[in-house]
Symmetry: C2
């Protein structure tokens, strides 16, 4: 029996690998077997952590054991699933006793806290990395998806945000902090508490949910995209811990909370009628905004005005993506962007038809890069203020169309119509294609539809 075979037996003997209800067969055979009560579904999620990428190397094995399982279990919380078990694929350069014992202690502690049993896995020699696959159960059809948010719902989070991101310089040894501040922040980084009980309490109540791993703005962008709505976040309501405010200035703490990631708190949308019941049950949830019609995520100040990212006035790419600033207007930035686009059309119409066509190709390709870059910079998938896509859509609409303000007006109306109604496949693309291409493609298609309509009208009139 080799060293790694021994490790397998070591894990098989761990407290978290012992028999529990629902696990018909644990470690030791070719497969583990799970029982699922009738009428329930199995929820499954896989997360990989790589040394030097997702955690510093070297690091404390006990903390790593805790963190690896917590990160994976948080996905069960985000679905509202009841935890069942997990498998662990552990890749180790060498196996020292100290390391394994520390790791197993951390893993056991988090497993017990989460109610997860170790049911299988694989241990191999190689560069340090861990893949945890978690299993939970759910009454059929009650999973909390990302796609159910409805206009009018409240946007809530399960606790203060930004601590883990604020802890990162401490984790990496790049910053010092007072001991009690450091302890509070490091605990959020190394042993986040998956909000499993809250997730289960939200079943049948929350309309959409996820766990915040990429940052509040980016993850709210996922809900907005999957649900086909816009989310408004009131910046002043985003909860911050005393520890993060002791370490950082308010703007720096807010930046961590909005774009930091690694929080593993739930973010969810909630029909307002469920709020008081959940609060009466003692859930410490925070309402931070609401679901409105539109797309993307908007940050609001205390007067309810959309906060423009300051970078729009500083970074030329951001300025361009925001339609020369038109995307910063508080109401209907897409409409203002489309109006601005009209101003360029007479200019393009000075070009020959193939020259105008070339402009379309170049601005579309450039837009895929630009919108992707700015969305990444801002940490939001489809920031409502990014209107370059609307500009290009209008320009497509008006290609090969006679000059004259009547045509401009007609094209503008048709394009807005297709962009708002989003006939198939535009709606599908809007939800399923991501990145810069995703931001551009739905408006490009709306432009093509509007162009076809205009050309038919021209054909009919001639």
């Amino acid at each position: 029996m080799g060293e790694f075979e021994l490790i397998r037996h070591y894990f098989a003997a761990a407290p978290c690998a012992q028999a529990v209800e629902g696990v018909a067969l644990g470690i030791g055979d070719d497969c583990a077997l799970l029982d699922l009560p009738a009428g329930e579904q199995l929820a499954i999620s896989t997360d990989t952590l790589v040394a030097g990428v997702h955690f510093p190397d070297p690091c404390d094995a006990f903390l790593l054991g805790q963190r690896a399982l917590a990160v994976a279990a948080s996905d069960l919380a985000a679905m509202g699933a009841t935890p069942l078990g997990f498998t662990l694929a552990l890749c180790l350069p060498q196996a020292t006793n100290d390391w394994l014992q520390g790791f197993a202690r951390g893993l056991n502690q988090m497993a017990e806290q989460c109610g997860l049993a170790l049911i299988g896995g694989d241990t191999t020699r190689g560069p340090l990395s861990l893949t945890v696959t978690v299993f939970g159960r759910l009454p059929r059809g009650q999973a909390l998806l990302r796609s159910g948010a409805k206009v009018g719902d409240l946007l809530c989070v399960g606790g203060s945000l930004g601590d883990a991101a604020a802890a990162l310089p401490l984790v990496l040894g790049q910053q010092q902090a007072a001991p009690e501040v450091a302890a509070a922040l490091l605990a959020q980084y190394w042993s986040p508490r998956p909000q499993l009980a809250l997730g289960q309490a939200l079943r049948g109540k929350a309309s959409a949910a996820l766990d915040i791993s990429d940052g509040l703005l980016a993850d709210c962008g996922h809900i907005a995209a999957a649900s086909g709505v816009a989310l408004q976040i009131e910046l002043a309501r985003v909860p911050l811990s005393p520890a993060i405010l002791a370490l950082l200035s308010l703007p720096a703490a807010q930046h961590c909370a909005l774009s930091g990631g690694d929080d593993y708190r739930l973010a969810f949308t909630l029909p307002a009628q469920h709020l008081s019941g959940l609060q009466a049950d003692g859930w410490a949830l925070q309402v931070i905004g609401r679901v409105v019609a539109g797309q993307g995520v908007q940050l609001l100040d205390e007067q309810g005005r959309v906060i423009t990212p300051p970078s729009v006035w500083r970074n030329p790419w951001h300025f361009l993506a925001f339609g020369f600033g038109s995307g910063t207007l508080p109401k209907a930035p897409g409409t203002w962007g489309s109006l601005l686009a009209l101003a360029f059309v007479p200019l393009w119409q000075l070009l020959p038809a193939w020259g105008y066509g070339l402009v379309l190709i170049v601005t579309t390709a450039f837009g895929c890069w630009l919108c992707g870059k700015v969305a990444r910079d801002l940490g939001v998938h489809d920031h409502g203020g990014i209107v370059w896509d609307e500009l290009v859509g209008v320009w497509i609409t008006l290609w090969l169309v006679p000059a004259g303000w009547q045509w401009l007006l007609l094209g503008f109306v048709l394009f807005r119509l297709f962009d708002i109604v989003k006939p198939w496949p535009i709606r599908w693309i809007d939800r399923h294609v991501h990145g810069g291409v995703g931001i551009m493609l739905d408006d490009v298609l709306a432009g093509v539809f509007a162009w076809l309509s205009l050309q038919l009208i021209i054909l009919g009139l001639s």
Copy 2:
């Protein structure tokens, strides 16, 4: 959206990631959701492949995609499970389009062949490795375990063995072969066909089963240990392909088949009454031996005699572990080893009590190392011919016992009794503790039980 986010969307669009029955929710939310018909169980297995450890680096991405999934799916075959889906955790140093396309093609092809849908995963930057977790379903209680083999059952395999091991020097470029021979062997290495249909056909028939990944002898040792029986393999019946016999001599081919591994054929024990039915249904299974009382795995020659590993007469450690050769005797090697042990007792009795005690400590500790080493060398967990453990058990029994042949005889009888009856916890240890310690511990405990009985008898007589 970063490069790795793009890859996730790339996999989400793969043919194998599209909706199938049983998968209520695939890639794209926090978890995937599986439906399981009432009365069924979910089978789960995880396998990790690391570049440079489990496959050569660099290697063809298409072949790697096939192999990674086939290796994992084979565990479902070994349980008799009906394939449902899989998750893929892919760790990549960098993402090139060519590599990803080739890998996804291989993965898709094997997924289609196995009937497995990609339901989730994670893609991260790091040293190349893959963790595949597969899911299957089974009527409750019908899983093919390793622990059900009964004395009298036939031992069968699902096809020829050794090809993948014979292919390894070709994979590594260390050997050449005729093109059609190389093609046949390399196909077994790179795209083994998980015997999923055979596994399902064996439900309710085979008493124990697994897939051969570590080599026939080692894996049969797993069935023997888990079932508390011995397996006899008739060497001449182990099936070999024309390709392996074209490349290697018969003894070299047999070595690949017995100890090579990576076959991913099923090995299973079958009550004899099911054989003709399975053969009539067209299953190309091969009977290679049978289940007998005892422990470990025995190789038999064509006259049904136990084949002694030639190394016993060449390697001094093997000679010692085989009880100075007594373990090579065809019938009851444990009994002969115990008898030989008696010859040493008068010698130990010349020592003071503490000196005899010291002999026990040293021979026990040495035995843990020796039995582990020789079991590894032979590729069999608990080779029936390893009798060093019986020697030490007899010596323990006779510590602090008066000299005289009557006491020797009584001690021998008591020890054999406890070693054969295996009262709790000896039986449990025999099945659950592995490696050299596992081989030693059950005999050490049988010795302690026999010693206690002897001491009580002495106390009663005095």
